[in-house]
């Protein structure tokens, strides 16, 4: 493998006709890093991946490995010369070749001596726990085994960059988790620079050093799993990482107190008091102050697990702030807790989703409250230039 320090993608754009699939995409990958492209289907994450491999020609932008330009939209290094490895969602194993021949495919093309090919294939198969499968054909194997072969087929070539396109999404839930552990262990061991594409936030959080959240071909946020999970950059990312309750409202009162902002947001269903730890200079802080001053609307985002059911009458004692009065109209038992979906009393169409251990019955009226420190507030889209029009 030719060594390198970093791979940088600069302002990469891909248009199909008048549809922009990847828009102004810039990111740097450090060596040995595990980066995940996360987003819903159709967000351009797979297209971005294919553009980086060279399988899809880019419309504009550049891709560099250190100082070497491998693609600038006019000239490009063909995919087979980039020394990248790719694992496909549907495995893409060659059905006419045995497991061994599949794994040896790339090595044979490099005209390596036979004994070395044998040895490296054996090593790769051992690494993915498939010793003894060498002479089988792909169609004789389960989905999980096939995906292991696909991984072995890539890593045996020691690629500079390993790209995985939703590799686990065709597997059943149990196998998905198993193989996820294995992928993690494999990365710990081999330290291959990896780009991983998925729509599953759990996979992204579990595996990545950094997550790139995408929507409609544009990068929404780049950050560590912790950052993305606890400090989503905008309502879209918040929704995607589980802030299911998003309510629009207006800031009634704003108290600045050192590093924290206390904003009281009047939403349709409740008055939400918040404690936002946005330090000075944080653009989100400025945006909220601006929204307060201009009277523009904001969105509050709260996770279902951050809303708690409180006892009858307790709400009255607490006063108006952060108490939601609602009627349960969907209760799902989920083992560790109930997942409750309820409509907020007195306001048509506003809903609240929460997780609670309390036994709430269908149709039961109850009160819930929110921890002010767990609420996120975003200034509304028109104030946020990061979002693109659909």
């Amino acid at each position: 493998m030719r060594d390198f320090k970093r791979i940088s993608v600069r302002r990469m754009t891909k248009r199909f006709g008048d549809k922009t699939a990847v828009d102004d995409f810039s990111i740097e990958f450090g060596k040995e890093e595990f980066v995940t492209f996360l987003g819903p289907s159709g967000c351009g994450k797979s297209t971005a991946l294919n553009c980086i491999t060279g399988l899809i020609p880019i419309t504009s932008g550049e891709i560099y490995i250190d100082d070497e330009c491998i693609d600038d939209a006019k000239t490009s290094v063909p995919p087979e010369k980039r020394e990248f490895g790719m694992v496909f969602q549907n495995y893409a194993l060659f059905p006419h070749l045995t497991v061994k021949e599949n794994v040896a495919f790339g090595l044979k093309l490099r005209k390596l001596p036979k004994t070395e090919v044998e040895k490296r294939v054996d090593d790769a198969l051992r690494l993915v726990h498939l010793e003894g499968y060498a002479t089988k054909f792909p169609s004789q194997m389960s989905g999980g085994e096939q995906q292991r072969v696909a991984i072995a087929r890539c890593i045996v070539l020691e690629p500079r960059l390993l790209l995985l396109d939703e590799p686990l999404s065709n597997l059943d839930a149990k196998l998905r988790v198993e193989l996820r552990y294995e992928l993690k262990a494999l990365h710990e061991r081999l330290k291959v620079t990896t780009i991983y594409v998925t729509h599953d936030q759990a996979e992204a959080l579990a595996l990545s050093d950094r997550i790139v959240v995408l929507k409609l071909g544009r990068i929404q946020q780049v950050g560590s799993p912790q950052t993305v999970f606890t400090k989503p950059a905008n309502p879209f990312v918040a929704d995607f990482v589980g802030y299911k309750n998003a309510w629009k409202g207006k800031i009634e009162v704003l108290k600045e107190n050192g590093g924290t902002l206390g904003a009281s947001v009047r939403t349709k269903g409740a008055l939400i008091e918040t404690k936002l730890s946005y330090p000075e200079g944080d653009p989100r802080r400025d945006a909220i102050i601006a929204a307060y001053k201009s009277g523009g609307s904001v969105t509050t985002a709260i996770r279902p697990e951050d809303i708690a059911v409180i006892g009858q009458g307790e709400g009255a004692a607490r006063g108006e702030g952060n108490v939601i009065r609602c009627v349960a109209d969907l209760v799902e038992y989920q083992g560790h807790a109930n997942s409750i979906s309820a409509c907020i009393k007195g306001c048509e169409g506003e809903r609240v989703d929460l997780h609670s251990a309390s036994d709430i019955a269908f149709g039961e009226a109850f009160e819930a409250c929110v921890d002010p420190e767990k609420v996120l507030v975003f200034a509304m889209p028109e104030a946020s230039p990061a979002r693109s029009a659909p």
Binding site: P57, E68, C69, I70, K74, T75, S76, V77, P78, K81
Partner: protein
């Protein structure tokens, strides 16, 4: 290291050459037949100098054209209907049931498509003469079933496999009888398959030549056989008259093809064997 993305590829050029050449030949053949049938004394030059319709009159006197067209369609339609009656149940059984010797039976059914008509046609023709089927329209219908039925089975099987047993099980659970399932569930669901098989076979049977040629007489031949006989006996008639008959055949076959292309795709015209 950096390779230029070449936009003008040699493969594109070669592709265009093959396509243009092929289209030129096919169009050329068809157009010359049509032009020649309307021409008088076209021996050189790009286009005929004198146009006439007299060859059609001539061809009409030589042949009973309405009868030829009638027999052609009668044979084609009868073959499609009888073919569907035979092949639909068979395709259903082959798609659904598992039994010993299924693979053998399937390959036996495909054999008439692999062995060309000329090889089994002569013994078949001998039998037709023996059983007095030769020279009668019924004989033409019977012999042309041989290539049609296997073709239909092959076209129908994937359509039946596609329906899936669930719907039939559901109908059974709701208390439907076998006959009812067939009529109320299976037939409506496989209508696209029946339509495809029917249309493809219709188009195919209009152009079937060898077997009809071997057994048909004056009154039981189809238009394509009459055309061959005319062309074979070149000199007996002016070539333009033969072309006039060819144009009539061409018009019929083309109409069927164009109508059929509204329902099926060109690749379906060629069956697919696994």
């Amino acid at each position: 290291m950096i390779a230029v993305r070449n936009k003008l590829k040699i493969s594109n050029a070669l592709f265009m050459i093959v396509i243009v050449l092929f289209v030129f030949i096919v169009l050329g053949i068809l157009l010359t037949v049509v032009l020649n049938s309307f021409s008088k004394g076209w021996y050189s030059g790009l286009l005929p100098k004198v146009f006439t319709a007299e060859w059609y009159k001539y061809a009409g006197q030589e042949h009973k054209i309405p009868r030829l067209i009638g027999v052609t369609f009668l044979v084609a339609i009868a073959d499609v209907l009888i073919g569907l009656l035979i092949s639909f149940p068979a395709a259903y059984a082959l798609a659904r049931a598992e039994f010993k010797g299924k693979a053998l039976l399937l390959s036996l059914f495909l054999l008439p498509m692999i062995v060309p008509p000329m090889a089994y046609g002569i013994p078949l023709a001998m039998l037709c003469y023996k059983f007095h089927l030769a020279g009668r329209v019924i004989g033409t219908i019977v012999v042309n079933l041989v290539p049609i039925v296997p073709f239909m089975i092959l076209v129908l099987m994937p359509f039946i496999e596609q329906v899936g047993t669930n719907l039939e099980s559901a109908a059974k659970m709701l208390g439907a009888k076998r006959g009812t399932i067939f009529a109320k569930v299976l037939i409506p669901l496989t209508t696209p398959g029946l339509l495809t098989a029917g249309i493809l076979s219709l188009v195919k049977s209009i152009s079937l030549f060898d077997l009809t040629y071997l057994i048909a007489g004056e009154n039981s031949q189809t238009i394509v056989v009459a055309l061959f006989t005319d062309a074979y006996a070149a000199g007996a008639r002016p070539p333009q008259a033969t072309d006039a008959l060819a144009v009539i055949y061409f018009a019929i076959a083309m109409t069927c093809l164009l109508v059929s292309l509204r329902f099926v795709s060109p690749t379906q015209m060629v069956f697919k064997v696994k």
